[in-house]
């Protein structure tokens, strides 16, 4: 018997419309005299925002995840990338994106819209080269910011300025590349949007501490995406506030993501995008993933709260910190983004284990499912150490192998079998068996 009442999200339709508009805006930017740029979801997108309101990005990871969901096109993209000589074990997002570029086909239809410039940061080895290749292949200008300054806990003035100085240089590059005059007011507004959006997303994730959880992670994947598309966009930040209010309302009324919630899990890294139905399979056990360090911490910016819990980082605006100049805006943008939880474990798997165990405790979880994701070396590096740390803490943990963007490396039947075993060890039986 269902224990909880459930209902669809009211803002789901709006989320879909915003997402569709994002890809359309990028494709049609030139028709309106605007500019297009490409880069990663980690790029400091608030900086190109200073070029004007008619400058539209396309970020590679969510674009490639969308391709992965479109399996026939994904297979053609992957094979096209491989036919150019790229190794099959490179980043699956990168191979899907490059395949789309080589085939000159856009995932939503039409030709691949050539960007006017590439703007990126060096978050991992693949990201460092991904857009360099795009720039060379498409003969467009490219700027990349090196952010290899270590984990946030070790950030000092010199390290911060290493990033901030590059940001200043990037603005000179953007002005020279586009011939436009840079507008600091638009930068400042964009930085405020970035801080607002990423803090509110953390607030939404924090609401999932409630039992029953108002959101399941499969649904969250369709919502967190705005923070990967364009963190500094006002409409997206506004949408997250609307979403936060709706999720709070669900909590107040006891509305659950799944009616039979009896087992709360977390996942890790990007999911296999072409096989999100495995999350629905878990629901047959009354199990749901309430999130992960990935879905919480790739977008959400967090801080320690006075009561010791993890909560949304207080924005500079709420703290009354002035953001009146270009330099102030860039310093805040750098500091804010370098505190991103997902950034930390690029330096130390132990930091990731600590954050994961914190989520297990604070979100009252029963177990952890780790995706040993062959498609992303950046987020998968250290997973075995994480597994060991979680197991040693006495938390049930399972692993499954797969690939977020290459369906040839994901075995759905075996994964379900693995999930069956994990559920059995947690003492759960499928309701329909």
């Amino acid at each position: 018997m269902p224990k909880y009442q459930t209902e669809p999200l009211k803002c789901w339709k709006k989320a879909k419309e915003l997402r569709d508009k994002y890809y359309l805006d990028y494709a049609t930017a030139h028709e309106r005299g605007g500019l297009r740029w490409t880069g990663g979801a980690w790029a400091f997108d608030a900086i190109p925002a200073g070029l004007g309101d008619d400058v539209y990005p396309i970020t590679g990871e969510p674009y490639a995840a969308g391709i992965a969901f479109n399996k026939p096109f994904s297979l053609r993209c992957l094979e096209e990338a491989e036919s150019k000589g790229w190794a099959r074990d490179l980043c699956a997002y990168m191979r899907n994106y490059w395949g789309s570029m080589y085939l000159d086909e856009y995932n939503t239809g039409g030709k691949y819209p050539k960007p006017d410039f590439a703007f990126q940061d060096h978050i991992c080895c693949s990201h460092a080269k991904w857009y360099q290749h795009v720039a060379e292949y498409k003969n467009i200008p490219y700027f990349c910011i090196d952010i290899s300054v270590g984990p946030y806990k070790d950030l000092n003035e010199d390290r911060l300025m290493f990033v901030v100085n590059q940001m200043h240089e990037s603005i000179e590059f953007l002005e020279k590349t586009t011939g436009r005059t840079y507008d600091d007011e638009k930068l400042i507004e964009a930085v405020k949007n970035d801080c607002r959006l990423t803090s509110v997303w953390a607030e939404i994730c924090a609401l999932n501490r409630n039992i029953p959880a108002p959101l399941d992670e499969k649904t969250m994947y369709s919502l967190y995406v705005f923070g990967t598309l364009q963190k500094a966009k006002k409409e997206f930040a506004d949408f997250y506030e609307e979403l936060r209010d709706e999720v709070q309302d669900r909590v107040d009324r006891g509305i659950a993501a799944i009616a039979n919630e009896r087992c709360r899990l977390m996942s890790d890294t990007q999911p296999p995008w072409g096989f999100l139905k495995v999350f629905r399979y878990l629901e047959g056990y009354g199990a749901l993933s309430v999130g992960s360090l990935y879905s919480f911490g790739l977008i959400g910016i967090w801080e320690d709260k006075p009561d010791g819990t993890w909560g949304p980082r207080t924005t500079p605006m709420d703290k009354g910190i002035p953001i009146d100049t270009r330099d102030q805006a860039l310093r805040i943008l750098a500091d804010w983004n370098l505190s991103k939880p997902e950034f930390q474990h690029f330096y130390d798997a132990g930091l990731k284990t600590k954050m994961m165990l914190r989520i297990v405790k604070e979100w009252k979880l029963d177990g952890v499912m780790l995706h040993m994701n062959r498609g992303c070396e950046g987020l998968s590096c250290g997973i075995s150490e994480n597994r060991l740390g979680i197991a040693e803490a006495g938390v049930p943990v399972m692993t499954f192998e797969g690939n977020m963007g290459d369906e040839r490396e994901f075995d759905e039947i075996k994964t379900r079998d693995r999930m069956d075993t994990f559920m059995e060890t947690l003492g759960l039986e499928r309701s329909e068996s």
């Binding site: 597994r387 049930p396 399972m398 075996k414 075993t421 059995e424």
Partner: protein
């Protein structure tokens, strides 16, 4: 009370029938392409062996890769759960079960109560499985039993890639061309599989007593390699491939007793 366990493995279907906790029938048949038909035939034979009608069985639990299509089964149990329950029935002191069958290798850490604490299963390659051993024996033109026995004659350590069955097979061919004696190659193959299985087992940790189950435990060469690689004594189950089916039968018994 009569209960039965069916293990629909990728190569063999095994059925065990218990009467009041005593084994009264054990049957094994090649799975073939029509697993459901084979399962029916195996159950018929098991009932004849037990001297009972099939409707006399109070509860049947199915396990194995084909469990979802198991006829008659009242409940399904994963291979990990079945191997753990079967191991506890065979040797109550078991804390680590290593189960290597035709298709998969598994390491299972269990509590004194027989509950699964942690588990690991080999990922997308046959290199840690019984089928791989059969392929290697074929490459050396040896019967499987002969392949195991022969490896005991070797005292050489030849490193071999066991991360990929295809590459490992090509290494065997290279060794043959290099006139390496068959017994040394046989040992190299077993050492490689053992190394892969032990590495997987150490991911969940290996605690005494260790019980080796599954069809690969019939292979004396593999057992010797496992002991060397683990650097500890291990228990090898008699008729080791029946352990998961017994675990399923015992689970049926537990469930029927709880009603």
């Amino acid at each position: 009370m009569i209960t039965a366990g069916m293990d629909l493995g990728s190569k063999f279907i095994k059925i065990v029938i218990l009467k009041d906790g005593e084994i009264i029938a054990r049957v094994k048949m090649l799975s073939g392409f029509e697993q459901e038909v084979t399962a029916n035939d195996a159950m018929k034979e098991a009932c004849e062996q037990a001297g009972i009608e099939s409707d006399a069985i109070d509860r049947i639990v199915a396990t194995g890769v084909g469990r979802s299509i198991a006829p008659f089964a009242h409940n399904k149990l994963t291979e990990v759960g079945a191997a753990a329950r079967g191991a506890i029935a065979r040797l109550p002191e078991t804390r680590t079960v290593i189960d290597v069958g035709a298709e998969e290798g598994r390491a299972i850490l269990i509590t004194p109560e027989g509950k699964v604490r942690d588990f690991a299963i080999n990922e997308k390659c046959a290199a840690g499985s019984g089928t791989f051993t059969e392929t290697m024996a074929r490459a050396l033109e040896l019967e499987l039993a002969e392949f195991g026995q022969l490896s005991l004659k070797s005292d050489k350590v030849i490193p071999m890639n066991a991360q990929c069955a295809v590459f490992a097979e090509s290494e065997v061919v290279s060794l043959l061309h290099a006139k390496t004696p068959k017994h040394d190659i046989a040992r190299a193959v077993h050492d490689a599989i053992a190394s892969r299985i032990v590495s997987m087992a150490r991911r969940v940790s290996v605690e005494k007593e260790v019980l080796l189950v599954g069809g690969m435990a019939y292979n004396v060469g593999f057992v010797a390699s496992m002991k060397r690689t683990l650097e500890m004594e291990i228990h090898v189950a008699d008729e080791p491939d029946y352990v998961p089916a017994e675990g399923a039968a015992w689970t049926a018994y537990d469930k029927a007793s709880a009603i």
